[in-house]
């Protein structure tokens, strides 16, 4: 076969990939096709074919990946259950008197849903459909309304259970249960930061988010407690069924995912929302999302197999370490790369391409593996919000009614404060690493 320097091969792999991605060719097919072509050049057909088949097979028999269809199903099913409307009503009864109460309720609902849903689309859509009309009717400032929905909705992919964590674990060789524990507190911290910001900004500018008029607030407290409990309990029990079993070390994430999926379907049945058509549509949607994610997993596996075996990982590592910026300088560069990629590429692509590259660098720099992974995951939160390629923005634009007059620039300006808050969150995690590591330490000590 041909001889070439690893630097040259790195370019040979990445430049065509970049061209394909920017020209709009499907990510998976570009990764697989380019990986194969380069591998054929350097290894010949026999070895290439064998390695690629084993990559496909490896993804198929991976027990952890099985949680992907299950969590996707769970999220889509919960979307159909109507549980979020009930919850929003209940939370709003309590948050009404607070300035910006609807936006606070949106973030709170996003946080609770996040603990039950693992896909970003489902929670943004749910929040948008419920909270946006309500905020529009109360004359909330458009930017604040859109920002809180996008930010609250994207918590779904950070706070466990989350498909992103399920996918990240096997790629970085970290237990998914451990990632779940690590993501819990940072998720709540972001939620708290969002809520604090909303309250402060609405205190300073009351017309951004007027509180509920007094006439709508009069309801005996016992009734309010009753409504809160009846709407919160089913969701909480599902959350406990999934997270509790993982955190207490009872069940593996895949097992918890299946329990959660069954429990959500039962909840739907109890609310009389489950019928054959709903189940069928949910299943169809589930297999499409799952296949879409897993083909990227397989093809990216082929790409990185070629990439790493030809010594390109070292090239990348030396390029970053060679900048002689010191430990934190290199750390900053990695995060800048992830942030910039997040503006243009899907998170699935970033995880499958970047994580095999940066994980060894993080170790070489002497960072705690779990902490390093979680920092990247929190960083990726921003990728859902940063235009031009931002899922949360697309979804919200898709559900906004034309008569509300919500333009893309409202949404974009709305999410900027929340992006800054995520950066604050990242900074806090650097200063206090126990935000990430505290819960895993505590739970593994018993």
């Amino acid at each position: 076969m041909i001889e070439a320097s690893p630097e040259f091969i790195t370019l040979l792999l990445f430049i065509p990939l970049l061209v394909c991605i920017l020209l709009g060719y499907p990510l998976a097919l570009a990764l697989g096709g380019i990986g194969m072509t380069v591998s054929l050049l350097f290894y010949g057909p026999e070895q290439t074919f064998a390695v690629f088949y084993n990559r496909v097979w490896g993804v198929m028999i991976d027990y952890t990946f099985l949680a992907v269809p299950l969590f996707v199903f769970m999220g889509l099913m919960l979307e159909r259950s109507g549980v979020s409307e009930r919850l929003f009503g209940a939370i709003y009864l309590w948050m009404g008197p607070i300035p910006g109460g609807l936006a606070v309720a949106t973030v709170l609902l996003g946080t609770i849903l996040a603990a039950a849903v693992g896909i970003v689309g489902a929670s943004v859509v749910m929040l948008g459909l419920i909270a946006l009309p309500a905020m529009h009717a109360r004359n909330y400032k458009k930017e604040l309304a859109c920002g809180s929905i996008c930010a609250g909705g994207t918590l779904g992919i950070l706070i466990p259970p989350s498909v992103m964590l399920v996918v990240y674990g096997p790629v970085a060789d970290i237990g998914v249960g451990l990632l779940f524990m690590g993501a819990f507190i940072p998720g709540f911290m972001l939620s708290a930061l969002y809520i604090t910001y909303i309250i402060i900004v609405c205190l300073l500018k009351p017309d951004w988010g007027p509180p509920l008029p007094l006439s709508e607030r009069q309801m005996p407290i016992s009734r309010r407690i009753n409504i809160l409990l009846t709407s919160l309990l089913p969701t909480l029990s599902i959350i406990f069924a999934v997270l509790g079993t993982i955190f207490l070390g009872i069940a593996a994430p895949t097992e918890a995912a299946s329990v959660g999926a069954i429990a959500t379907a039962l909840l739907c049945a109890v609310y009389k929302r489950l019928n054959l058509q709903v189940l069928q549509e949910t299943l169809y949607q589930t297999i499409k999302v799952t296949s879409m994610v897993m083909i990227i997993a397989m093809c990216a596996g082929m790409f990185t197999a070629t990439f790493l075996s030809l010594g390109c990982g070292k090239v990348f590592e030396q390029a970053i370490l060679g900048m002689a910026m010191g430990r934190w300088g290199s750390f900053l560069i990695i995060h800048a790369i992830v942030f910039i990629l997040g503006m243009f590429i899907d998170w699935i692509g970033i995880i499958f391409i970047m994580i095999p590259l940066v994980t060894p660098i993080g170790e070489a720099l002497g960072f705690n593996k779990l902490w390093f992974a979680m920092m990247i995951i929190v960083n990726l939160q921003m990728s859902f919000l940063t235009p031009p390629f931002a899922y949360a923005l697309f979804y919200l634009r898709g559900i906004a009614q034309p008569e509300w007059g919500i333009e893309t620039h409202h949404i974009v300006r709305g999410v900027i404060p929340f992006i800054l808050l995520i950066m604050v969150g990242l900074f806090l995690c650097i200063v206090f690493p126990d935000i990430i590591l505290g819960l895993p330490k505590l739970l593994s000590m018993k």
Partner: protein
């Protein structure tokens, strides 16, 4: 091109039918793992078969959905630049990369999965991930057929794109 037209119709139906059928395996997957959870944590009697059955179901779900995803054009792509191109340019890009990247990859996967399937049947291969040692040649066969449907759908999508290009011209 009467043949290609009826071919495309057939293949699109197959892709959709296979994807929809396979989606029901998700229910089986939930029940398989759910049963294992009940038996293991409820009765301290873990099953022998759940692990193997589950990854077989999961692998089938991932692969059998591929052709449908391709048919519905649901693959993840970054269209921030390409959406500014004319539809014709977009079609040209897609056709070019399909020839350069998709067809070689799909043919390769089909060839190797064929070889593995034949080999697996010849030795009546068993999976050795658990002590249950189930036969694994059905799953190897499924991999072959999934990639076959994928390639057939790819040819169909390719044909549709060329038709669209022709339609633009006339």
């Amino acid at each position: 091109m009467g043949f290609m037209r009826s071919y495309s119709k057939w293949v699109e139906n197959i892709s959709e039918f296979v994807g929809k059928g396979a989606s029901w395996l998700t229910v089986a997957l939930m029940l398989s793992i759910g049963y294992e959870v009940i038996m293991r944590y409820g009765f301290r009697a873990p099953t022998l078969w759940s692990f193997d059955i589950s990854y077989m179901l999961g692998g089938s779900i991932y692969l059998l959905g591929l052709a449908w995803v391709l048919k519905e054009d649901r693959n993840v792509r970054v269209d921030i630049i390409s959406c500014r191109f004319s539809p014709k340019t977009q079609l040209y890009i897609n056709i070019l990369f399909t020839v350069l990247l998709f067809f070689p990859m799909a043919v390769m996967l089909l060839k190797i999965s064929w070889e593995r399937m034949i080999h697996s049947w010849r030795i009546l291969e068993k999976a050795s991930y658990t002590v249950w040692y189930p036969p694994i040649y059905p799953l190897r066969t499924l991999v072959f057929f999934a990639f076959l449907f994928w390639l057939l759908q790819g040819i169909c999508t390719f044909y549709r794109n060329i038709e669209k290009l022709k339609g633009d011209r006339s």
